[in-house]
Symmetry: C2
Subunit: 186 residues, 2 copies
């Protein structure tokens, strides 16, 4: 038995290219790809955080299409993955759904070193031990706002490859790699 | 120094849900996400294989938008990644661009065990040694046609996580994880 792991994708507060705090739009493939990765790596749920009601309604409409419409019958595996998805207004709502901020550990991700990080190997060991559920938090746009990173319990190291300094993975790719490093079969 | 690694995304011949051989449509985020992952993990190029000229023209138009238009100035890192992209009609064309079938090794990927696979750990070791360039081939739709898998030099093991039997990652996520397992900094 290992600790519960949940994925969170934040659309506010996140940074834009000029490091201003902004709200980003929901991207359809963020819903699908990250739900499929979360399902593959045994996550308990996948929260999309968006403050705008109309954007959360868009998520709900996409989910209904796959859970009750013909697409769900055509691709049952997609329906299974999308069953993990929840859209909520704020990070606080995520915490509350899981028993409150004190009942969980929040781990943030970043393409740059924003505070002293833990390695993925260390994260993997921590997840295999005993402890509260872990929320793995990703930012859209140019990444999570500093206040979200500062308020977390831990920050994972940036992902890099082949010694290359290029740090511009899509959030869909970064989430897939992070989950594989933390929970992939080796 | 390690061997050159190239990524190939095949749109024909691939399988549909009923295991028939089909041609799939180009997906915009397949271009972007896989180019960004290929760039992150030091790949030499990223080939999209599509037999239909109008679909290759769509790729060219998207590339021009990013390489010559305002978007490339707005996000230079995206321009760097998309510089790796080539759209060609067939897998044979990919081989020919790299010196011919005998000058390269072709490694296919699959969500199911289609032939005796090599592990990612073994693939990582092979890439660190000496040898010809490696083409890492991914299929869209429900995966590469059996003839492509049979004609390859090696097949990588399916990706799995947390002991879960769910095998439905997006090709964008599968490619990110495969490149990280083969070339990620540990």
């Amino acid at each position: 038995v290992s600790r519960a792991l949940h994925v969170v994708l934040v659309h506010y507060p996140v940074l834009d290219a000029a490091k201003a705090i902004v709200t980003t739009a929901i991207t359809n493939l963020d819903i699908h790809d990250i739900a499929r990765s979360a399902r593959t790596f045994g996550c308990g749920s996948y929260f999309l955080v968006h403050p705008i009601e109309a954007q959360r309604a868009l998520v709900a409409r996409i989910l209904t299409h796959w859970q009750e419409g013909s697409s769900g019958r055509r691709i049952p595996a997609r329906k299974d993955a999308l069953a993990l998805v929840r859209a909520v207004p704020t990070l606080e709502d995520v915490y509350n759904e899981l028993g409150g901020r004190d009942a969980i550990e929040v781990w943030v991700t970043s393409a740059q070193v924003a505070r002293p990080p833990i390695s993925f190997a260390e994260g993997r060991v921590r997840l295999e031990g005993a402890g509260p559920p872990v929320l793995l938090v990703f930012g859209t746009g140019w990444g999570l706002a500093p206040e979200v990173i500062a308020a977390a319990d831990a920050a994972l190291e940036p992902i890099s490859g082949a010694g290359a300094p290029y740090k511009h993975l899509s959030v869909r790719a970064a989430c897939a790699i992070a989950l594989d490093r933390l929970r992939g079969d080796r």
